[in-house]
């Protein structure tokens, strides 16, 4: 494979969308004829039936895609919920959403005493929480999902563990939400 073919291969690999001939030629600072020749070489490499990835020409240009041979394995790898251990930040955010839902992101941050963008983002991405409308101030509200219940083995939301078992001062009378917010404000000042 010559250098131009290598570069074209890399560009097709990186691009999520099909890339047209003229955009390839522009990026490679080569003529379209040269790119066409490189694509022919690549096509030999990516001949269908020999590789896990194939070169396709579709409307709008060229693209690399996986061969159907890998479909089942891909489903096993990627469609199964990802369940790496939760980081402490993620566990805190998830617990806040689970017990206070629906709850907004600023509230989560107030309870934790620290900005919680990335942890909340990861929980959304993994499908453990989802949006559930907006607060009267326009902030997005979050609640837990069905997947959350399955992954925690909870039959219903009211099957969450009783907080009083973990509460450092179980005699406190005010509501959980107020107490969490108060503790969070104190934490933010440390």
């Amino acid at each position: 494979m010559n250098e131009l073919a290598r570069v074209v291969e890399a560009l097709l690999f990186l691009s999520a969308e099909p890339v047209s001939l003229d955009r390839l030629a522009d990026a490679c600072e080569s003529s379209e004829a040269e790119v066409i020749e490189s694509l022919a070489r690549l096509r030999e490499h990516y001949a269908e039936g020999y590789r896990g990835v194939v070169l396709r020409e579709v409307a709008g240009g060229f693209t690399l895609a996986t061969d159907p041979v890998a479909e089942k394995a891909a489903r096993r790898l990627l469609s199964r919920p990802r369940t790496p251990p939760l980081t402490p930040a993620q566990a805190e955010c998830l617990a806040i959403v689970a017990y206070l839902q629906p709850v907004s992101r600023p509230e989560v941050a107030r309870v934790r005493g620290v900005s919680s963008e990335s942890a909340v983002g990861t929980l959304l991405e993994r499908g453990l929480i989802e949006e559930s409308g907006r607060s009267r101030f326009g902030a997005v509200l979050y609640r837990t999902t069905e997947l959350f219940q399955k992954l925690f083995g909870l039959e219903a939301l009211d099957a969450l563990p009783d907080v009083s078992g973990f509460d450092p001062s179980p005699d406190e009378e005010s509501r959980l939400r107020e107490r969490l917010l108060k503790a969070g404000e104190a934490r933010a000042q440390v």
């Binding site: 895609a65 566990a91 925690f152 973990f166 107490r179 969490l180 503790a183």
Partner: protein, 252 residues
Amino acid sequence: MSMPAPLELEMDLEVFQGPFDLLLTLVLREEVDLLEVQLADVVLAYIDHLERAGELDLEAATEFLVLIAALLELKSRLMLPGEQGEREGPEPGEAADELLARMLEYSRYKSAAAYLRSRLEQEGGFRYRAAPLPPPLRRVSVDLAEPVYDPALLGEAIGSLLRTPPRLELEHIARPQVSIEQRLSHLRSLLGRRSSFVFDEAVKGADRLTEAVTLFALLELYKAGEAEWEQPEAFGKITVRACGPSARAVEG
């Protein structure tokens, strides 16, 4: 002995990553004699720089002062005449060791940082694919989900979030409630009763702040022509006397 020429502090503080960086450079500069460095200039310039950079917080400033204090102490020890056996506290060698240890620690991470930067640059040519999954693979299947997480994790997280952090001990800097007005009326009532008194009586049992405010109130009375005082010797008794209309009324 000729005076050493004042050292020009030609340093662009913008380029330093922090006080250690600055000190390392300062100490390692061949042409700089540590004795000649006006550390006060360094302190002022650096604090100034932090302030301009919008980075001046208490933590940073305190840290820098601690550092400079260590250097100052070292410097003052170096400047002491070389008498033996009369010094208290750490020997200059020890003071230097303390400072040296922290500079070395910093210098380790400064080099590690340089390594990371160059490594990132070397890696710059490797790009990873970040394309969304083909649509059929996008939906996570809830049916395939099995219980893997312990619900107690959530209870524990809430329990720890309910814990209020230990309160900072602020009592020693809590401001006693004392105002000029209070102390003014206190002094006026003393003067009203006796026409003269000793200042110590006016602040008997009071804390230092109250003492200071009372003294300030006294100055106010003097300015208004209501009182004058006398202190025959330094650190002696201060006798306060009423003057003006109210004093005459009492005398009369």
